[in-house]
């Protein structure tokens, strides 16, 4: 009898803990969406940001800067990350010194707090290389930041490619690079795409390393060498000057846009994951 009561308490604690997690998520999403969704309209999306006319101010420049940032950093990081993963899985001898060094450094990169990337990006890309506070400096900084994600996820996808495909290809006298190009990469593609989407989420979500390297100028950047303000940096900026009701609406609406983006990214990742599960029988 005593045990049953203890069991009940334990069980309700477990359900309670899980509920708390969910409640917090729902609370956060609900609060932001409920206060922000009604202000997200076409004007808000497509208008330029204006400090004077807050009522008709929008986030178009931040959307453009965010898109630049995503495309540029993925375009640089994805090839490097995929090639690194290929080197680790297909070329290097497993357990060799080279592999250990590369893996240690990749894991170290994954553990470095993002603000350190900001510091580094500011000295190296902005000042030393003279790229200035620019989309390019930001994207290069984020490239290093997302590299570990791309390498690890791609590596897992490559390892999952059946040995039989490799044997079949080498057994036909095909070279390594041909085998990689025709058989291994296509089979690992869903995993690679997942890694790219995950990193897109990281790029959209980062803020500290971004404003230290890309600045916060709230207009559409002329080129990749121009400064730009991403959506997350914009939300941060807005929260430092919450005075009128319009300020609040702007902040809620921006947060709403970010949450919708994150939801979309999660959904796409899930769909790819599901297709992947179906494909492997």
């Amino acid at each position: 009898m005593r045990r049953t009561i203890e069991d009940r308490i334990a069980l309700s604690l477990i359900w309670g803990g899980a509920s708390l997690t969910i409640i917090f998520l729902v609370w956060m999403l609900w609060h932001i969406l409920a206060n922000g969704l009604s202000y997200v309209d076409w004007t808000f999306i497509s208008a330029n940001y204006s400090v004077t006319d807050k009522e008709n101010s929008g986030i178009w420049p931040m959307i453009v800067s965010t898109i630049y940032m995503v495309i540029l950093s993925i375009a640089i990081a994805a090839p490097i990350g995929i090639m690194t993963a290929l080197f680790l899985t297909e070329y290097a001898k497993p357990g060799s010194k080279v592999v250990k060094v590369i893996r240690f450094c990749t894991e170290s990169l994954a553990g470095i707090p993002s603000i350190i990337y900001g510091l580094f990006g500011m000295t190296f890309f902005v000042v030393t290389l003279g790229l200035g506070f620019s989309i390019l400096s930001g994207a290069l900084t984020l490239t290093i930041l997302i590299l570990p994600v791309i390498i690890r996820t791609t590596e897992e996808a490559l390892i999952a490619v059946p040995l039989a495909y490799r044997e079949g290809s080498y057994g036909l006298g095909a070279s390594k690079i041909y085998t990689i190009w025709r058989v291994i990469l296509p089979s690992a593609m869903p995993g690679i795409i997942t890694s790219v989407i995950l990193s897109t989420g990281r790029v959209i979500g980062e803020s500290a390393p971004v404003f230290l390297t890309a600045g916060m100028v709230a207009r559409i950047p002329d080129s990749v060498l121009d400064s730009g303000r991403t959506l997350t940096v914009h939300l941060y900026k807005l929260t430092t000057e919450l005075y009128t009701v319009h300020d609040w609406n702007q902040a809620y609406a921006t947060a709403t846009v970010l949450i919708v983006l994150v939801l979309a990214i999660n959904l796409v990742t899930k769909l790819i994951g599901r297709r992947l599960n179906k494909a492997t029988y």
């Binding site: 477990i14 290097a92 450094c105 470095i112 707090p113 900001g118 590299l147 941060y236 929260t239």
Partner: protein, 311 residues
């Protein structure tokens, strides 16, 4: 190209002349592409190594002047942050550690219970909703957490504790506790699932209740994996920047209690970097070095835990 051996095809029946001719021609090709790509891939792989080196180099190079100006003791144990004269970051170290530990104290029990729920208790259909929700929690940008903290948690702390400003360590602890949930949940769940089935079956077969089995058999068996999750959670909390800036008040003085405003190491860097120059700027790099030392200690702990798990 002496290392290429000609492939002579015996005149076997099946393929026609033009196919054989094409194959013979191809056999004399030099496969330069294979070597080229091998070195290209290797070069790519070293970009990560190169980056680590570069980050370390710049941090130390830029941080040195302030460190030699103030001295390690004054820097790490100094109570006053008055750039460009006094560079004491003891208050920031305390704020970072207290906020991370507080987040662990609140967040880990909830995370652990959720992990147990997902691994052992939840009906499949419920788990299929909860798990994506946890993943979603991991994907939400830290500024959004900060914003939510600013509009909900900070006023709540004000009201509950009846203080004039809610931007306090307490608010940061609550926000960080939520932010570390996904990390701790995911790793603990994996650790729980990795416990051999036989442990559980053995316990149940002896007549122990499912709950007794979970808390007395599964949790201890998954101990090192769960600890790894907790360590990663601490690392995430210590490294967090934006959410903390938005809710902790950022006063550089030593916090006296949890309802005081405080500034973390990360906030110190992020807030002043944009305008700092000279020694002041160098002192921010030194702050970065101290932050990195903490993270390295955590990673070493993680390495040790993983080694124990492997054994």
């Amino acid at each position: 190209m002496s290392d290429v051996v000609t492939v002579n095809h015996a005149p076997t029946a099946k393929q026609s002349g033009q196919v054989v001719k094409a194959l013979e021609a191809s056999a004399n090709r030099v496969d330069w592409a294979n070597h080229l790509f091998k070195y290209l891939f290797m070069l790519s792989a070293f970009i990560g190594v190169f980056s680590v080196g570069l980050i370390g180099y710049f941090l130390i190079k830029e941080g040195m002047p302030a460190l030699s100006y103030a001295g390690v003791t004054n820097f790490v144990f100094g109570m006053e942050w008055v750039p460009p004269v006094l560079f004491g970051i003891a208050p920031m170290i305390v704020a970072s550690l207290i906020s991370a530990l507080g987040a662990v104290v609140i967040g880990v029990p909830v995370a652990l219970l959720t992990a147990i729920f997902l691994a052992e208790v939840a009906p499949k259909r419920v788990a299929d909703v909860v798990r994506p929700a946890v993943e979603l929690l991991a994907g939400i940008p830290s500024v959004v957490y900060g914003f939510f903290g600013l509009v909900i948690i900070v006023p709540m702390v004000e009201k509950v504790f009846n203080i004039p400003a809610g931007n306090t360590l307490m608010a940061a602890i609550i926000v960080l506790a939520v932010m570390i949930l996904p990390t701790v949940i995911a790793i603990s769940e994996t650790a729980l699932r990795a416990v051999p089935r036989s442990y559980k079956e053995g316990s149940l077969a002896l007549g122990a209740s499912p709950m007794f089995t979970i808390f007395k058999v599964l949790l201890p068996a998954a101990r090192s994996g769960i600890l790894a999750g907790v360590v990663l959670g601490i690392a995430r909390a210590i490294g967090e920047t934006m959410a903390i800036i938005m809710v902790m008040g950022n006063s550089p003085a030593m916090p006296r209690h949890l309802l005081d405003s405080a500034r973390s190491l990360t906030a110190n860097i992020a807030m002043e970097m944009a305008y700092a120059t000279g020694l002041h700027s160098s002192a921010l790099y030194t702050t970065g070095i101290v932050l990195l030392v903490f993270v390295m200690v955590l990673n070493a702990t993680l390495l040790y835990l993983n080694r124990e798990k492997a054994r």
